[in-house]
C-alpha cells in the first residue's frame, strides 16, 4: 500500500476516511462531521501554534472547514485528503501571517508590568503555580523564541511548524506548499539557522 504523503496523520491508513469523503460528497452531513473530527484537532493545533491566539485559530478553523465543505465536490482523490486539507489550512494561515507582517503587529504578545509576554504563557501560568525563578527564565526564553520565530518569513515559519510540531515529512510539506522537497529542505535549514542565531547561548 502506498504510504500517505503526510505520514503521521495516516489519512490513507484509516480506511474509513475515503468512505466518509464519498458520503459527504453525496450530501451526508453526519459523514462530513465525522470527517472534520478526524482532522480538526491537528488543524487547530497548527493554527494555535502558528498564530499564538485562540481567536485567530478559531477563525482559521472555521474558514478552513467551510472551504472544505463548499469545495469537497472538487476533491478527486488525486492527492491525499490530508494534503488537500492542509493546502487550504496553510494558505489561510500564511495569509494571516502575511497580514501580521504587513501590520507589524504582534497579536500574540501582550504588555505587562514585566514587559511584553506571549499571551499564551499567561494563559498557561494561570494553570500552574510554578516557582518564580523558573517562570522568569521560561518567560525570557519564551520571548527569545518568539522573536526568533518572528524573524522567519511566513513560509519558513510554516515549513518549520509543519516539520517540527506536526511531524510531517519534507516531501509532504513540499506537496502541501506547492513546492519541491528540496525547497522545503532549504526553508527548514534557513529557519533553524536563523533561530540558532537569535537564541544564541540560551540553548
Amino acid at each position: 500500500m502506498p504510504q500517505d504523503a503526510a505520514g503521521t496523520v495516516g489519512a490513507r491508513m484509516n480506511p474509513q476516511v475515503d468512505s466518509l469523503i464519498r458520503a459527504a460528497q453525496r450530501g451526508d452531513q453526519d459523514a462530513f462531521e465525522q470527517l472534520v473530527r478526524v482532522y480538526d484537532q491537528s488543524v487547530l493545533r497548527l493554527a494555535m501554534n502558528l498564530l499564538r491566539s485562540p481567536e485567530d485559530a478559531r477563525d482559521v478553523y472555521q474558514e478552513a472547514f467551510l472551504r472544505v465543505y463548499r469545495n469537497l465536490q472538487t476533491f478527486r482523490f488525486d492527492c491525499s485528503f490530508h494534503t488537500w486539507l492542509y493546502r487550504i489550512v496553510t494558505n489561510i494561515c500564511l495569509d494571516q501571517l502575511r497580514k501580521r507582517k504587513v501590520r507589524k503587529e504582534e497579536a500574540a504578545v501582550v504588555e505587562t508590568s514585566e514587559g511584553p509576554v506571549d499571551r499564551m504563557d499567561l494563559f498557561e501560568e494561570e494553570h500552574a503555580a510554578a516557582d518564580p525563578e523558573r517562570v522568569t527564565w521560561n518567560r525570557q526564553l519564551g520571548n527569545r523564541i518568539e522573536s526568533a520565530l518572528g524573524g522567519l518569513t511566513p513560509r519558513e515559519r510554516m515549513v518549520f511548524e509543519l516539520r517540527h510540531y506536526q511531524g510531517l515529512r519534507l516531501r509532504a510539506i513540499g506537496d502541501i506548499l506547492g513546492t519541491t522537497e528540496e525547497a522545503a529542505k532549504n526553508c527548514l535549514f534557513r529557519a533553524t539557522q536563523k533561530m540558532r542565531g537569535v537564541l544564541g547561548d540560551f540553548v
Binding site: 452531513q29 472534520v36 467551510l66 463548499r70 472538487t74 488537500w84 493546502r87 515529512r169 533561530m195
Partner: protein, 308 residues
C-alpha cells in the same frame, strides 16, 4: 566531510531527513569533530526549547469550534439546538420558496446556510466542470482572490494568494479563470465581490454562474453586488427558481432600487404562482412604484387586490 557541509546537514539529520548514506558520513564526522558535535547538541537543545512552547488546543476550544462550524453549515445560532433532521438542501429550498413566513427574522442564519448550500450542492450539480479543471494549477478551494480587474479585449487579471502570491490572467471563457471569478464572488472583500459579479452577469447561462448570481442577490450584504446580480439574472426572469429569488428580493430587500427592478422583472410576465406573494405585498407595501406595479399585475391576472 568538511565542517561546513556537516553544519548544513545537522538540522536535516535531526529531523531524520537525510539518506542513510549521508547520515552515516555525518555521524562519522560528528564522532571525530568536537565543534560539530557541540553544534549537534545545540540543535537538540533548540528542539527541546521549542517543544516546551508547543500548545495543545483546550478541548473546550475544539468543542466550540465544532459547534460554530456546524451552526454555520446548518444555519443555526452558535451553541443553539441543531435542527433535528432537515438537510441543508431542504432548509435552502424552504428559505427560497413557500410563504416566506418569518424570512425577515431568519435572514442572517439562513443567509449563512444558503451560501454554503449553494456552494456545496451547486458544485455537485456541475461536478464535471470542476473535474475538467483539476489539473490546473489554480484551485479555488485554497485560493484567496485579492483583486480582479479587466485588461481589455475580454481579458481579466486576477491577483490571488494560494501558497504564494501571484497574478493570473486570461479570458472569461477559460474555465480556470471563471472558477476564480466565482470564488471572487464569495470573498469577504466587497470590492472583489462587485467586480466578480459584474464579470459574471453576462454569463448567467452557465448553471454555476446562475447559482452564484442567485446567491448574491439573495444574500449579499452589499447592495451594489445585489444590483449587479439582479442585472445578470434579467435574461433568466422566466426561470422558476430565479423568480423565487426575485420575489424574495421584492419582499425583503432593504434597497428600493433593487425592489423596483425586481418587481419590473416579476410582473413582466403572467405567473399565477406569484399571486399569493403579490397580494400579500400590495397590502403592506410603502413604495408607491412597487405597489402600483403589483396592483396592475394582479388586475391583469384577474386576481383580487383587496384583503381576503
Amino acid at each position: 566531510m568538511t565542517c561546513e557541509s556537516a553544519l548544513a546537514l545537522i538540522p536535516l539529520y535531526h529531523y531524520g531527513e537525510l539518506t542513510p548514506e549521508r547520515e552515516d558520513s555525518l555521524e562519522a564526522h560528528l564522532h571525530e569533530c568536537g565543534s560539530c558535535s557541540q553544534a549537534m547538541d545545540r540543535q537538540r537543545a533548540l528542539a527541546r526549547a521549542l517543544d516546551r512552547r508547543e500548545l495543545q488546543p483546550p478541548s473546550l476550544l475544539v468543542e466550540d469550534c465544532r459547534a460554530d462550524l456546524m451552526a454555520a453549515i446548518q444555519g443555526g445560532a452558535a451553541g443553539g439546538a441543531r435542527p433535528p433532521s432537515k438537510g441543508l438542501w431542504t432548509l435552502f429550498l424552504e428559505a427560497l420558496g413557500g410563504t416566506f413566513a418569518g424570512m425577515g427574522r431568519m435572514r442572517q442564519p439562513l443567509a449563512a446556510a444558503a451560501l454554503v448550500g449553494l456552494g456545496f450542492f451547486g458544485a455537485r450539480l456541475t461536478g464535471t466542470k470542476a473535474a475538467a479543471n483539476a489539473g490546473n494549477a489554480v484551485q479555488p478551494a485554497y485560493t484567496t482572490v485579492r483583486s480582479i480587474s479587466t485588461t481589455g479585449a475580454g481579458r481579466v487579471e486576477i491577483a490571488v494568494d494560494d501558497t504564494s502570491r501571484r497574478v493570473v490572467s486570461g479570458g472569461l471563457d477559460d474555465p480556470a479563470i471563471q472558477q476564480l471569478v466565482l470564488a471572487g464572488s464569495r470573498e469577504d472583500n466587497p470590492a472583489v465581490r462587485v467586480e466578480s459579479v459584474d464579470l459574471l452577469k453576462g454569463r448567467a447561462a452557465s448553471g454555476e454562474v446562475r447559482d452564484a448570481l442567485l446567491n448574491a442577490l439573495a444574500h449579499d450584504a452589499n447592495p451594489a453586488v445585489r444590483m449587479k446580480a439582479l442585472e445578470g439574472l434579467k435574461a433568466l426572469a422566466g426561470d422558476a427558481q430565479v423568480r423565487q429569488v426575485l420575489a424574495q428580493a421584492l419582499i425583503k430587500d432593504d434597497n428600493d432600487v433593487i425592489r423596483m427592478q425586481a418587481v419590473d422583472l416579476l410582473v413582466a410576465q403572467r405567473d399565477d404562482s406569484m399571486v399569493g406573494v403579490l397580494q400579500n405585498l400590495v397590502q403592506h407595501e410603502d413604495n408607491n412604484y412597487v405597489r402600483l406595479k403589483v396592483a396592475k399585475a394582479l388586475k391583469e391576472m384577474n386576481a383580487s387586490v383587496g384583503t381576503f
